[in-house]
């Protein structure tokens, strides 16, 4: 018998974070992710851990900054407008090299937009909505189970690389209820050197957590260290799922909820005898550029499908680098591509 229970994505993400050793959650309400802080407000005190409803998203990310600076596992969650407000704070986390997890359950934009699902914050998540040359790992699941599983990875990766990690969902993945085993990937937190953390100052010189670097080339050298770290991440942490890509004439590239819609369309296309495969990035940053590049050429075509007007498609184009044509199909503003429309687009490309 399965150990699974029905949970919505928000709750599964929250419980998985707790299982992954979350010490402190700080957040501010915003639809469609309210179940995360609500769940945390009940569960964290039960576990004797910290829950604070912050006065704003900015306060939340800075509370995370404070907790993380002491070596605690800290997290916040929000949705698009709230994530925009956190950009300065995320840039600081990156600059100060503090591990932290941020969940973005994307909704329709720009501005207040609406509360429907969307994938329109891809650029923000993968190219630094904040200022400065930083990147952070961005993980996108496509089921409640995977969203939960990724939380364990998110905290470990944050610790391993000392930086913020974003976990990315959307209104559907947040609200959808599916059978899930939140303990499936449970494991003890990875052990990393946290001797940089603040507090318990004994037998060592003081620790400073800081993103300010003055003096000739000091900030540059700090940045070069960050860039070297980013390169290691690019080289070692890329994750993706490739299905039926070997023989494919057309590869659909889609992540998160879009990948589920795409896979329906692909199944129908295969039934019609069309050779179509699915490439699903799980790390949006680092983007799986090399695996895609390896598939490019040989007369093969690509089609990016997103709940946006074309964001990830730029990464596909950069990866393919002219070796294959790359088409795009997307809807946004809370509207979701239909299986039929994606199928049509597939057929159009293979005509």
């Amino acid at each position: 018998m399965s150990e699974k229970v029905l949970m919505c994505g928000n709750e599964a993400v929250a419980e998985a974070a707790i299982q992954a050793g979350l010490d402190a959650f700080f957040g501010y309400p915003i639809t469609p992710q309210n179940e995360i802080p609500e769940y945390m407000s009940r569960r964290m005190p039960e576990e004797g851990r910290v829950f604070v409803q912050s006065e704003s998203e900015i306060a939340a990310i800075n509370m995370v900054y404070g907790a993380a600076a002491t070596g605690a596992r800290a997290m916040t969650s929000s949705s698009s407008p709230g994530i925009s407000l956190k950009q300065e704070g995320i840039s600081y986390l990156a600059g100060s090299q503090l591990p932290a997890v941020i969940v973005n359950m994307m909704r329709g934009g720009p501005g207040l937009g609406n509360i429907e699902p969307s994938q329109s914050d891809y650029f923000q998540a993968t190219r630094g909505g904040g200022h400065g040359d930083y990147y952070h790992i961005a993980l996108a699941g496509n089921s409640v189970q995977e969203m939960a599983d990724l939380m364990y990875d998110a905290f470990d990766l944050a610790d391993k690389y000392r930086g913020p990690v974003m976990v990315i969902g959307d209104g559907i993945l947040a609200q959808m209820i599916e059978p899930v085993d939140v303990f499936a990937k449970k494991r003890p937190p990875i052990q990393t050197d946290k001797s940089w953390a603040l507090g318990n100052l004994k037998d060592r010189s003081p620790n400073i957590v800081n993103s300010l670097f003055l003096g000739d080339n000091v900030l540059e050298n700090h940045n070069l260290r960050l860039q070297a770290k980013y390169q290691i991440i690019r080289d070692t942490e890329v994750r993706f799922e490739a299905t039926d890509t070997e023989d494919a004439d057309l590869i659909v590239v889609a992540y998160g909820i879009a990948s589920r819609i795409a896979s329906s369309a692909i199944r129908k296309a295969r039934k019609k005898g069309l050779k179509v495969g699915l490439f699903r990035p799980i790390t949006l940053w680092p983007f799986p550029a090399k695996p895609i590049a390896a598939l490019a050429g040989q007369g093969r075509k690509f089609l990016a499908v997103e709940l946006s007007y074309g964001q990830m498609v730029e990464d596909v184009r950069l990866a393919v680098n002219g070796a294959s044509p790359v088409d795009f199909y997307g809807r946004a503003g809370g509207s979701v591509p239909t299986v039929e429309a994606v199928l049509e687009k597939i057929e159009e490309n293979l005509k």
């Binding site: 402190a24 910290v50 604070v52 900054y65 603040l198 507090g199 100052l201 400073i208 993103s211 003055l214």
Partner: protein
């Protein structure tokens, strides 16, 4: 046979500061360092440096410190104190940092009654960025963004943060001091020590020591005149004394 009766505290590095001559930040740092030494809490104190002239406070205070985004020190302190309740957490903030961009964060730290200490160095100006008007700039005071002097009808009256925060039940100790002369410097030290002691004793609530502090550079005064200005003018707008607790 002479004995050493005064020297710099342990928790202060023996280091040249980047502050202008006569700046108040140096004295404020010293008082904090002395307090930490006297309470013997260096091992469990974490300081938070703001963005402002004191952004490099971690270069002077010989303790664990974090430098944080402009105005957000109280939120950072909240995050820290909640996960490290046995530590003494203090945020060091300027008036631009605390009263302007960080207004929501200080209000809500007090509102929630976070068990933290805020050292609020009010010099009625934005020092670091070159002398712009702060919420606490005095009526008529010239600053680079109010070149004709602060006009209360356009820019409001100086913001009395200690009074405002005192309304909050979560704020349990608030005192306003000035580092003008030895007597007042001694009072300031006492206030800081009291604030830290409260945290140490686990007394609930947000506490804050506001320090009226000179910025001779952007007040365009000699350090000596700047201190006189505090005593004679600033304390009229910002009366000294305990407001709460």
């Amino acid at each position: 046979m002479s004995t050493l009766v005064y020297e710099k505290p342990e928790s202060l590095y023996d280091r040249k500061t980047h502050y202008c001559p006569g700046c108040g930040h140096g004295v404020a740092h010293r008082l904090i360092a002395e307090t930490i030494d006297e309470l013997d809490i260096r091992h469990k104190t974490i300081g938070i440096a703001p963005v402002g002239c004191s952004v490099l406070a971690y270069n002077y205070l010989n303790i664990d410190m974090v430098e944080v985004a402009h105005g957000r020190a109280p939120a950072v302190a909240t995050g820290m104190k909640r996960v490290k309740p046995d530590h003494i957490i203090f945020a060091y903030q300027g008036d631009g940092d605390l009263a302007s961009i960080g207004c929501a964060e200080i209000m809500h730290a007090a509102h929630r009654g976070e068990d933290i200490t805020v050292i609020f160095v009010n010099n009625a100006i934005y020092g670091m960025t070159g002398g712009q008007m702060a919420p606490t700039t005095m009526v008529g005071q010239i600053a680079s963004t109010c070149p004709n002097g602060r006009d209360p009808l356009k820019e409001g009256y100086p913001m009395q943060m200690a009074e405002i925060l005192s309304i909050m039940p979560g704020a349990t100790y608030i005192e306003r001091c000035a580092i003008t002369d030895p007597a007042n410097i001694r009072k300031t030290k006492k206030a800081i020590k009291h604030a830290f002691q409260r945290q140490l004793d686990g007394e609930n609530g947000f506490n804050m020591v506001e320090i009226l502090s000179p910025c001779p550079t952007y007040w365009r005064m000699s350090p000596v005149d700047a201190k006189k200005h505090i005593t004679e003018q600033m304390t009229k707008t910002f009366p000294l004394g305990k407001l709460k607790g």
